[in-house]
């Protein structure tokens, strides 16, 4: 569920049941609510360089 100050009912409507106005809007929230796993390339990047992130 999304927090939405302007339209609480819309926020509480499950993603699949919302009336999205545009493809941009639909695809953005679809990606937010059904996020893809990190790509293999990003995972490789992390595995190679993440160790250099200092705590």
């Amino acid at each position: 569920m999304l927090a939405n100050r302007e339209d609480e009912m819309w926020s509480l409507t499950p993603h699949a049941e919302r009336d999205y106005g545009t493809e941009v809007e639909r695809s953005f929230f679809e990606a937010i609510e059904n996020p893809a796993a990190p790509s293999q390339e990003l995972t490789d990047l992390y595995n190679r360089y993440g160790k250099y992130l200092k705590k």
Binding site: L2, A3, N4, R5, E6, D7, W10, Y20, G21, T22, V24, E25, S27, F28, A31, I32, P35, A36, A37, P38, S39, E41, L42, T43, D44, L45, Y46, R48, Y49, G50, Y52, L53, K54
Partner: protein, 181 residues
Amino acid sequence: MENTSKNSLDLDQVTIEPLDPKVGRAAFCCGNTRIDNFFRNNAKDQHIKHRVRVYTAIFEGQPIGYYYLVAKSDEPKKVSEEAIEKFGRVNSTPCIYLGMLGVCLQHQGCGLGYLLMLHAMRQTLAVADMIGLYALTLEAIDEPTAQRYERWSFKRFESGGLHMYIALSTIKSLFQTENNA
């Protein structure tokens, strides 16, 4: 990810930290005038006033790379002209915007840019622990860069556009591998 650098840089000796206003910035040169000018002329003032947070990669006391983060609510008109009417219901999509990532010429190709990107993602996660947000967003500098970011799980707001985002949950999944290891 290949390191095709002709230069060498021990990333273990690099620290990424908030901008120290006292650190010299005049000599920084990444080859992109806009990115260089921001760091030389604006970064200090903007950082001190907390309008952005600048993070610098420091090596041997000198800044060799940087990026900045800023909280940003993407307005519909900036996402898509067509989206104004409907996106108005969601007047704000709270995100973190990654701006101006640059690495000085001498150290390009050493993996520092990748490290800065991962650092930005980690900082975004830290912010998300305190304040709700949707995604990390950025504006790719050109199409080849956008395609690279797509391979790193970024998505375009609009087909063919350079305005991109990566869902917070995707970043979270990436870093969970560290926590679960």
